[in-house]
Assembly symmetry: C2
């Protein structure tokens, strides 16, 4: 049994509102939002980091559906024209907290020009 919180959410072992889902990814709201809209776009397959996905030969496949899913969510939230920020925190220096790859989508308001 996986101890990963995102895997548990995907398996419905932890209740969560799924904002968007397709065969490859699902999206949920960040529980500590940094902006009015703050959604996590999460590949269903568990890879801790980009480099792990790459080591399995999965990076290209992952990339293909990940960004397009982010754009779909931006449309669903109606922030595709106003704009948003996409962030992947990778490893310790990057501030990664959950070691199951995820992409942050932040928007709904004007974000600062600083992102570190």
């Amino acid at each position: 049994m996986s101890a990963c919180i995102f895997c548990k959410i995907l398996k419905k072992e932890i209740p969560s509102q799924i904002l968007f889902e397709n065969e490859n990814v699902f999206a949920i709201r960040d529980i500590q939002p940094q902006s009015k809209e703050h959604v996590l776009i999460i590949p269903k397959k568990h890879y801790s980091t980009l480099h792990e996905a790459e080591s399995y030969g999965e990076l290209e496949n992952l990339s293909k559906f990940w960004l397009s899913a982010a754009l779909e969510v931006s449309k669903q939230l109606k922030i595709d024209f106003s704009g948003y920020r996409l962030v992947i925190n990778q490893g310790e220096n990057g501030g990664q907290t959950v070691f199951h790859l995820h992409l942050h989508l932040l928007g709904g308001e004007r974000l600062s020009g600083k992102f570190v």
Copy 2:
């Protein structure tokens, strides 16, 4: 003649040190770095936004080589294990300043957990 600064750098109309280049992307240092390492990974084809790339049916192709190029640059900078942050600022609310798509790679030090 394009007025885009990234297109001018690519055409060598503006001098710049190219850190990484392949057939699809090139990478340069940000002139206003927000962390010890701050590199821009820029698709050679000019698309102002992700949604423009999508409207040309180019988003999937773009995604495939963009993330893998970012990983290559992280290895070149020797920050692939220590970690880093990848950021795409999209549109006005996202804080996009140059309207030629680019991915920020930030690292070389511990980044804060805040990215807005």
